[in-house]
């Protein structure tokens, strides 16, 4: 909320833990924590699901399952980058969330028009219907949050 934010984060030791980071940066406190928590749940579930699909039935729909793995990776990157302070991580966050938005829209559309290649088994299929459309909502909320807490705008961040 205030200028307690530390853009350069000079104290970043080997791995600054979350408590330390949250005291310095506004992006990962307050509502940001909720966002990170939801991303973390998706990262875990998408990773587990993609791992399961690739290990047990990869040949059935390679493209869909590779996309599953890609989605899992995007969620992991988004989770980590949202939790980290600093401008670089901010850019990583924006990129990850944008990729996620494009992914859910493109894969969602493809799964509607080409159900053979996309047998409705990725997180992003049918715009994330299997997950209560949270995959579609999440990147939009993520972008709104990142925009409101963008570097250089912290003094009057709402």
């Amino acid at each position: 909320m205030e200028e307690a934010r530390n853009v350069k984060a000079p104290h970043s030791e080997a791995t600054p833990d979350k408590a330390r980071a949250s005291a310095k940066d506004t992006r990962n406190t307050g509502p940001g924590r909720l966002l990170i928590a939801v991303y973390a749940v998706f990262a875990i579930s998408a990773t587990a699901r993609a791992g399961y699909q690739i290990l047990t039935k990869f040949s059935e729909a390679p493209l869909a399952y590779l996309l599953s793995a890609f989605a899992a990776l995007v969620y992991l990157v988004a989770t980590v980058s949202l939790a980290k302070p600093g401008r670089t991580w901010f850019k990583v966050s924006v990129t990850a969330v944008l990729v996620e938005l494009v992914g859910v829209v493109v894969v969602g559309a493809l799964s509607v028009f080409d159900p053979v290649q996309f047998p409705h088994e990725t997180v992003w299929s049918l715009f994330g219907r299997g997950y209560a459309f949270i995959p579609l909502l999440l990147p939009i909320l993520g972008l709104v949050w990142l925009y409101r807490r963008r570097p250089g705008k912290q003094r009057n961040a709402a």
Partner: protein
């Protein structure tokens, strides 16, 4: 859907409700919200113990066994993780994080039921 699912459904929804209301009322995580999440964990422990007894008793799991146990173990990690996180930052937003546990647990319990039967 079996009794285990309905227990988690009830406890999960109550916990989510309590935490949401606390968050909306701008309260920081307190005993009530944290205990409601602990109740979700307890319900999952009941599911775990019940499932172990059923497997020992010779009841088969229709789906992949390791997928079932994977879901159960992951679900059991969520409440402690959320509580730990809510203690690190005691703001109203942590109550929304706690609120997410109940719903997530109930979705995972539904999936576990599908795998079992």
């Amino acid at each position: 859907m079996d009794a285990y699912f309905y227990i988690i459904l009830a406890v999960g929804l109550i916990s989510t409700g309590i935490c949401l209301v606390a968050g909306i009322l701008k309260k920081a995580p307190n005993d009530v919200t944290i205990l409601s999440v602990a109740a979700v964990e307890l319900a999952l422990v009941v599911y775990l113990v019940g499932s172990v007894i059923r497997v020992i008793g010779g009841e088969p799991i229709a789906g992949e066994a390791w997928e079932f146990w994977g879901y159960l173990v992951t679900a059991m990690l969520l409440p402690p993780a959320a509580v730990y996180w809510s203690i690190l930052e005691r703001t109203r937003w942590s109550n929304f994080v706690l609120a997410a546990v109940g719903v997530t647990a109930l979705v995972m319990a539904a999936r576990m039921n599908q795998i079992w039967y």
